[in-house]
Point group: D2
Chain length 241, copies 4
């Protein structure tokens, strides 16, 4: 793509407005920090949040979005079902989707996965090491062999997702757990990436390597010119058959 990838960063944006500890880390919201990181990597980024009309995800916004990034946690149930259906249709039509951290329990991720997306977790002072297991994958481009996060919330297996088509990262936690932290999927013509880090009480989205992964993932998930698809009742393709 010679034109910049157009990313919309969606955030629930509730923790930052009610919890001073979170506001201290993300004064303008997690979405603003992520969008700034994308721009530094040469992508186009705008934002949308839960409390905007239609959660900021109108047809007009979605139709001009190459890749949607999703962060949600405490208000998954408030996301309107028709907006979820609209996003799902856009993904099947080719829009990329990057689901972050607690977005594992979002309606859109569960609808696209078909599983419970449950996991085990622990808020605390775990150290997290994200090991690259697919070093040639575009999402790992330019990384070292691992990313170290001094403190993060723990997410542990079993993570109830379909087997990833490609597994890019596996996390190690100091408490003894592992987690499939970077998982790629195709649904329809769309590419989906789940990326584990970023609990709201940690400065994870300020981390340069985390920003790089999200930018790499947006480039990877951005749609090209999708091959023609046709469905329904069709005549034979072979003359005379």
């Amino acid at each position: 793509m010679t034109t910049p990838v157009r990313v919309t960063v969606w955030n629930e944006y509730r923790h930052e407005r009610r919890d001073p500890k979170v506001a201290a880390i993300y004064p303008d919201g997690i979405h603003t920090t992520i969008a700034a990181g994308l721009r530094e990597h040469g992508l186009e980024a705008r934002t949308a949040t839960l409390d905007e009309p239609e959660h900021g995800l109108t047809d007009e916004v979605l139709n001009t979005t190459d890749v949607l990034i999703w962060w949600g946690h405490s208000a998954h149930g408030e996301v309107a079902d028709d907006v979820v259906a609209r996003v799902q249709q856009r993904v099947l039509a080719g829009m990329g989707l990057i689901v972050l951290h607690s977005g594992h329990f979002s309606k859109i991720f569960r609808a696209l996965m078909g599983t419970s997306c449950d996991l085990k977790w622990r808020e605390g002072n775990d150290r997290e090491l994200l090991w690259v297991v697919a070093p040639g994958h575009p999402i790992a481009e330019g990384l070292g062999e691992l990313i170290m996060l001094d403190q993060e919330e723990m997410y542990g297996e079993h993570f109830d997702i379909p087997p990833p088509e490609t597994l890019v990262f596996i996390s190690w936690f100091s408490g003894g757990e592992v987690f499939r932290s970077g998982a790629c999927y195709t649904r329809g013509a769309g590419r989906i990436f789940y990326f584990r880090p970023g609990h709201e009480t940690h400065p994870t989205y300020h981390h340069p390597e985390v920003q790089r992964v999200i930018a790499n993932a947006a480039r990877w998930a951005a749609p090209g010119y999708v091959a023609t698809r046709s469905y329904g009742n069709r005549p034979p393709h072979v003359p005379g058959s």
Copy 2:
């Protein structure tokens, strides 16, 4: 498994009761023919249909079902959402699921796949050749290199499903189309197999090789003793960490 696999064959059972052409092929319903084939292969089989209370899929039935087989076509919309949710939970807990032919558009298959499951089709006199592309797979056990069906409805690509974890069959149609006709998935602890043939106006489920595939698939999909899973807030696994 030393005890026989317990299969429940679910059928919409509408075409057979209203269309004499279909009734001539399946006088007691598609489900009865499929169940008889399973018994010849040494499996335990009972049936359930749409118009029974709770569609015949009560908790008691599902809790004693190892593998559920699903055939539906004209009445997908009449299947109650809570029964669909119940079946989905059972699959995630380990029950096998075999979805046949027009079941591609069933609520349960779409919920588990996350995609539209759309395809192209043509009722007519196409010849279908189902080529085995995974000859060592348990579902292909004892087959030749292909199964020939003299007349079948055509299903053609693009078939909007997630990439199969294992692809067992590819169909060739005389009209010029191909189709991924045998597709394996894992969702939660459950194994799912989609198998393309069986339009209601053709005697496909009387075909010995088709019966063998369905029996093989039921054995493959039957759950063993699933490894323990735990979710939610958890203390560290490593003492002192």
Copy 3:
């Protein structure tokens, strides 16, 4: 990548020099036709052939090659084992590899796959339809829903390859066969694409859609900046552990 992808097109280049029928279609060799097509799509292309010193695949050439394309048929056994080992090392280090048609039996493809790579075949007048089954994949970018080739050699299943990580095309042949015609793999940091068409007696590599697929595949297979890998005896990553 802002710089053009650097492709080396390798060809056995024997049929064209001894068979007038082939020479009429590819007067300067299959490699020259493929390279011209790549240049029209904005890629950098040079060529190498079997009878050059080191088969034209010196360290210097390989070290400045992003993607290697391989066409061979009658002289697989003449390719030197040390050149094969050198190419394999380069693929594991990140170089892309596109194996065409009868290259399925090349030493390099068999070494990377670990299987016999055998198939069934028939020289004749089969019509081939290549259906896109992964419409959102970069290799299918800009295609219609299928590519039609009026006459080609038939390749049929079973094709003894590892299950493709992504299957992009399935071929239909008028004689009744199907074939997994576009198959993606990762080996080490390298991406590999097998693409079925191109028997030497047919003008397949002059076909615009075939040229487009090869160009798309070269862009997809070109390496980025591979994440760091380290191997061997290592101290712990966690201080004090």
Copy 4:
């Protein structure tokens, strides 16, 4: 299968004969301990070792083996190439193969994978936790959510293998590393399982859960009645085409 799976356990059998520390743990060799564990799980097991004629892997032995288990470490280079080729042919024909621990560098595993199979390692006192990430898979049958090994050699990523078709275990090591410890592959009609544990200086193969995994894997890898395959020059399948 109603008849017991016939397993041949192959062991290099050198460490046990020259290192008293290893002999104290495996007085009759690693192979004897593994075979005893298999028998307790109802499988038939015999053994073969490097220093027997043809390494104990004659045609007669291989032709009556359903699943071959491979442990090697210090003498990979002494395994004769023709025996490796013979084993590879048998795997492609359907024989199961379970490669243990340092067998990652064996000729047979590298030939079937096509990659370097390199990794990082550390002999020491690491604790290893093997987490089940595919709880419904036959190889995980009857396990808890993890297996704990108090002391093992560390193997860490990057592990240079093709992406596993199914990933069953991920290991956590106290030094900060993770590893894809249980990896399933198909090559030809054969099923392959790589299982990470058992350094010769630790009593790992006496561990009941490790024995259970190896028995489960042998049952999973045992061939059924493979579907017919045919290769080579073939007439059309469709009359009149």
